[in-house]
């Protein structure tokens, strides 16, 4: 083992950012149960900070949040060397095709509408992790 490596080297980290704290906690519980490490943020600024600092393997971003919503956050992340390669999955309770398109353009790998199908959501996350190898 080299210096700096820790015991959770194989554990994948997911950043969940949503201003609905109840939902963030629920997702944390379920993602941890599925074997992921979870860090959480409740607004856009915090999401960007944590993403830069922790370089998670995946970011789940709510579209509408205070202090820079999901679109602003992903834009900042894609323009920062530290975070540009981290895949992003969007969550939103809005039902808007244009929004979905906007998310795709900004480089999101997934887009889920709340309330979402749980198994599809978990599969999408596993898929992203698999692609990262």
């Amino acid at each position: 083992m080299t210096d700096g490596a820790d015991t959770t080297a194989n554990q994948r980290t997911i950043l969940v950012a949503d201003d609905d704290k109840d939902l963030v906690m629920a997702l944390s519980i379920r993602l941890r149960a599925a074997g992921y490490d979870v860090i959480s943020a409740h607004d856009g600024d915090e999401a960007f900070e944590l993403a830069s600092k922790n370089k998670p393997d995946l970011i789940i971003l709510d579209v509408r949040m205070p202090a820079g919503g999901g679109f602003t956050s992903i834009d900042r992340m894609k323009h920062s060397l530290n975070t540009r390669n981290i895949p992003v999955i969007f969550l939103t309770a809005f039902d808007d095709e244009d929004m979905r398109e906007e998310g795709r353009k900004l480089g999101a790998v997934g887009f889920f509408r709340k309330p979402f199908d749980d198994s599809e959501f978990m599969e999408a996350i596993a898929g992203v992790m698999d692609r990262q190898g």
Partner: protein
């Protein structure tokens, strides 16, 4: 027989005498008066039908005094000038000035044909004048009405020149714009707008004007009293509609967002509990949580249906049209319908006519209609069967008709006309159906209408119901599945 009156205006006694002698024998009433303004007024009092105007008392180069004659009250009478037989120039000048004819003096030829021709011209002129007056009056009335509008109205010439604007238009574009080019004054353009370039006649368009408001314009071709074609345009301020529609859209988007958000949390915690992540559950606890799950699911469906109904009924939805076979569309929903029918012990039969033409439609929307109709059938049928049939109707260049029939409770006659109304539910003591907000059929009818189709129902209470919709068959080549 009507006696016609001829007035001679001039000072040449010999000529007057000659004319009087010639015409009196033919039954005309004749009067003489001076060639001045007073004479003209006398002729008007006499109620003359024809004026014989002798230019002798005027300088040789004087213009024919038509305006004076009209002013004196001889507004529509034919005027014949009397000129010396060597004064061809004078004759031509008087014709150019508005005289209907001329007679040479001294009088050698019979003046009767000239006078009769002038009378005839005068009568024609009177009719034309009358028509023109009606047109002018009508135009004035229309302008009067348009002037009071709070929305802009204007008239332009075929050369795009502003001829008239009402007060509301002046308030937007400023006074004193008459004579300017409409595209320049209204829209700061150097060239005519596309609407006018495309159509010289009636047209409709929308435009945002200099006051920042949006208007829907309609234009029509009108004729002025000279018979010239003009274009009249009237705008309606649609800014309030657009604002209301925008507020409505934002409101619905936010409400939908806020209704769905807590459902996501409920779903997640239900899953946490059911997966045992909150500790072991007793059998009873599991059952209770299952009730929460089902209720949340129903609430979710209801919210989505309401949002969808709002979209469809306000026309705010886009169809993703493609060529599809009815079988393709049925495949989207049949699995779910079969299992729903089986759950109730019903048989669901499906018959699609062989070689049935495809349709050009939004597959998921048509599937939604079929699911709704068949879902209703299952809901209201306790025993027996239900059937979905699809066939061809040669009417209107070919239509595909889909029928959903059941042996259910049927619909009372008095309700049959109302079932497509929004929020309408058939109240029946013997059947309690807990689901349904009365949205499905209203949505379905709009979807079918948007496809250029018709949705209708037949029913006999106690025997069953049949719902049919027809949409145009696809006329291009059939696609291979």
């Amino acid at each position: 027989m009507k006696v016609y009156r001829v007035a001679y205006l001039g000072n040449d006694g010999e000529a007057a005498m000659g004319l009087e002698t010639a015409l009196k024998g033919d039954g005309f009433q004749f009067m003489r008066a001076g060639g001045d303004y007073q004479g003209m007024e006398k002729a008007a009092e006499f109620n003359a039908d024809v004026i014989l105007w002798d230019k002798d008392n005027l300088p040789a180069d004087a213009a024919f005094p038509l305006e004076e004659i009209r002013d004196a009250g001889l507004t529509r009478q034919a005027v014949v000038s009397v000129v010396r037989s060597n004064d061809l120039e004078g004759a031509i000048k008087s014709l150019a000035g508005g005289a209907n004819d001329f007679i040479y003096k001294p009088v050698k030829e019979d003046p009767l044909p000239r006078v009769i021709a002038a009378l005839n011209t005068g009568q024609k002129q009177r009719r034309i004048d009358w028509c023109n007056r009606v047109i002018e009056d009508t135009n004035d009335q229309v302008k009067g009405i348009l002037a009071t509008l709070t929305d802009p109205a204007y008239i332009v010439s075929p050369e795009y020149q502003i001829l008239w604007m009402n007060r509301a238009a002046e308030e937007i574009f400023g006074e004193g714009q008459r004579g300017g080019a409409c595209h320049h004054i209204f829209y700061d353009r150097t060239e005519p707008c596309e609407v006018c370039a495309k159509s010289k006649g009636a047209a409709r368009w929308r435009a945002t004007l200099k006051n920042g408001k949006s208007y829907r314009f309609i234009s029509a071709v009108v004729r002025n009293s000279k018979g010239e074609v003009e274009k009249l345009a009237v705008g309606t301020d649609i800014t309030p509609d657009q604002e209301v529609s925008k507020i409505h859209k934002t409101f619905i988007a936010n409400v939908s967002h806020d209704l769905r958000t807590p459902l996501a949390a409920i779903d997640q915690y239900v899953n946490i509990l059911l997966e045992g992540l909150g500790g072991e559950l007793t059998e009873d606890q599991r059952d209770y949580i299952d009730v929460i799950r089902r209720s949340s699911f129903r609430l979710h469906n209801l919210i989505e249906n309401l949002i969808d109904a709002n979209k469809v009924l306000s026309g705010d939805f886009k169809l993703k049209m493609e060529v599809a076979s009815i079988q393709d569309i049925l495949d989207i929903v049949l699995g779910r319908l079969q299992s729903q029918a089986e759950d109730k012990g019903l048989t669901l039969q499906v018959q699609v006519a062989e070689g049935l033409q495809p349709v050009y439609a939004d597959k998921s929307r048509i599937a939604q209609v079929i699911a709704n109709l068949a879902g209703n059938s299952i809901k209201f049928t306790e025993q027996g069967m239900m059937q979905i049939r699809a066939g061809f109707m040669p009417r209107d260049e070919g239509r595909v008709i889909v029928s959903v029939e059941d042996t259910g409770i049927g619909i009372p006659k008095e309700d049959l006309g109302k079932i497509f109304d929004l929020f309408y539910r058939v109240e029946k003591d013997k059947v309690y159906v807990e689901e349904g907000a009365g949205l499905g059929l209203a949505i379905s009818r709009e979807i079918i209408r948007a496809h250029g189709g018709t949705l209708w129902a037949e029913s006999m209470e106690g025997m069953g119901s049949a719902f049919h919709f027809s949409i145009p068959a696809y006329k291009g080549q059939a696609v291979i599945r």
